[in-house]
Symmetry: C2
Subunit: 343 residues, 2 copies
Amino acid sequence: MNIYDISKQAGVSIATVSRVLNGSPNVKPATRRKVMDIIEQYGYIPNAFARGLGLDTMNSIGIMCADSSDLYLAKAVYYIETNLRKSGYNCILICSGYEHRNKEEALSRLLSQRVDAVIMVGSNYVEPEIKDNRYIMSAASQTPVFLLNAELDCPNVFCTMCDDFKATRSAAAALLNSGVTDILYLYNSRSYSGMRKLSGYQSAYHMSGLPLSNDLMQFFDGSREDISGVCHFLCDLREQGLVFHAVLAAEDMLAVGAIKYARINRIAIPDELSVIGYNNSLLTACSDPEITSIDNKLETLCSQLVRTCIGVLNGEDMPPKVIYSAELVHKGTTRLREQRQDQ
Amino acid sequence: MNIYDISKQAGVSIATVSRVLNGSPNVKPATRRKVMDIIEQYGYIPNAFARGLGLDTMNSIGIMCADSSDLYLAKAVYYIETNLRKSGYNCILICSGYEHRNKEEALSRLLSQRVDAVIMVGSNYVEPEIKDNRYIMSAASQTPVFLLNAELDCPNVFCTMCDDFKATRSAAAALLNSGVTDILYLYNSRSYSGMRKLSGYQSAYHMSGLPLSNDLMQFFDGSREDISGVCHFLCDLREQGLVFHAVLAAEDMLAVGAIKYARINRIAIPDELSVIGYNNSLLTACSDPEITSIDNKLETLCSQLVRTCIGVLNGEDMPPKVIYSAELVHKGTTRLREQRQDQ
DNA sequence: TTGTACGCGTTATCAT
DNA sequence: ATGATAACGCGTACAA
């Protein structure tokens, strides 16, 4: 069934069928009804490829993320897809993994599908070395690119992010302010936002005037789901003599590992050890006590990103960078004096 | 830039360019090189819409899932996308939510995009009432449909699933066999597979000859992430006088709630309370002790589903139903006599 | 080995 | 209000 068949059955031209299909006002109601009847009778669906060819768009947007099964990225994908669909766009999802080569391949795949835009979910798409981001800039010359939680200054690239630097600085400052001077910073990613978080932590020390030992910044080089690995990692540090009375984690999963570490070593939380996670995800509710965590407003970020995206596609003038502030959500793993809000 | 421009620049016909593009062997190496040079020089990418129109496919497959941010569904989506991409297919993702109307809308959206196949992830797509599954059957008359963890007997519908009935029956039997006679069955979904799990639990009681009280089957009617809600729910049951020495949960998240319940009420695990979850997800590793859980081999299921899908698209004869067995993974929340393997 | 010409099913422009 | 027809850019059968 195509538009010709319908037009024949309805006794009109294909132009009229097309008008009916696209809700043009220039159709006599009687004609419209007649055509609609035939369409429904045959269950006719217009060919999206032909339409795409003519209009040069299929209203689809590419979503790249390293791993859609990651708790955080999965939420982002969900929010983005849901919002985009409300605006009539379909989402082509590609899980690129964390390796550079595969990211490039994923991107070129989306471009060859002629998506209207590309959304890169997660800070891991912007890399420290400028040349490694060339592929993004090159893509942006054809198709608008939207980054979630990453920053790249380039025409046609739009960034929506949370101020991770300020977030960890505030959190670390709150811990320092509560009297803890030895905060272990635990991280597992050296992505753009990963480094920003680390800087925030360092900045809090600098601001407080307290000395900061390199040993207090520990990189966990294991799988993103290896909670007991994190636990053992911390146990090892303790055995090696490292002393810390707080853990500031770059991800909730690391914080969960810290909780297990504390339980195994009979360290009381929060009295002997404070723990702060990042993302305020479901994991914070799993452990006992629930974990104080930094909420980076993922849902807000995503809906803003989509708003920017739709605006750009509609030819509106949109800000290339939108930055939100995170919020420290106090739960059971901290006992902070007061929530210090620094600029 | 289109194929005509390239052909002009290279001094050949579009047919030759097309041959080069599609790797036809009938091209003189020198010609191929000449054409390739021009293509690369201009960064030409063939128009996917035009190609789609001619070939009547853009090699894309629709993936429906209720909520891609759900821990379990997210993993499934990840595995499926990754496998499909290896076979050259792109994935259009739609998060339909759990309401019937929205599921129908999502499906028709995919069909109008002319996807080559539709994959429905999660048991919630098949509903108890036959008429509610009509939309799937109707879709299947145009496009092959693949169900993960659901069963529907209909031409052009292919099911890949885990035997949930047997899984919960085995788990319940193991608990009964270890001497616990009052197992609380905790569930939060009445989907197809949800009911199968419940039946398995009941069957274990029947087989053992022990009486089964209705009070031991409890439906938690809260959010899928409301762990403390589950905890309170159990506390309420306890206060109402319900006695149980094991919890068999239809989802890991419910099991986590049970762990918190036990901790609050100072109930020792596994000595006074055994807990078994379902899915063997990351959540089982978050709590302390780690949760014994039923592993339904999600990764295996997904790769089998994709294999079936590719087979069908290649015109091969494929089994309409593939059923795997789950496996009980023993961790810290049970102390079972021995792992009883019943058929 | 290469080229010509047509078909794919729309939308949009221009008549009428 | 409606119809005829030209694009859109590709793959491919057929001819050379």
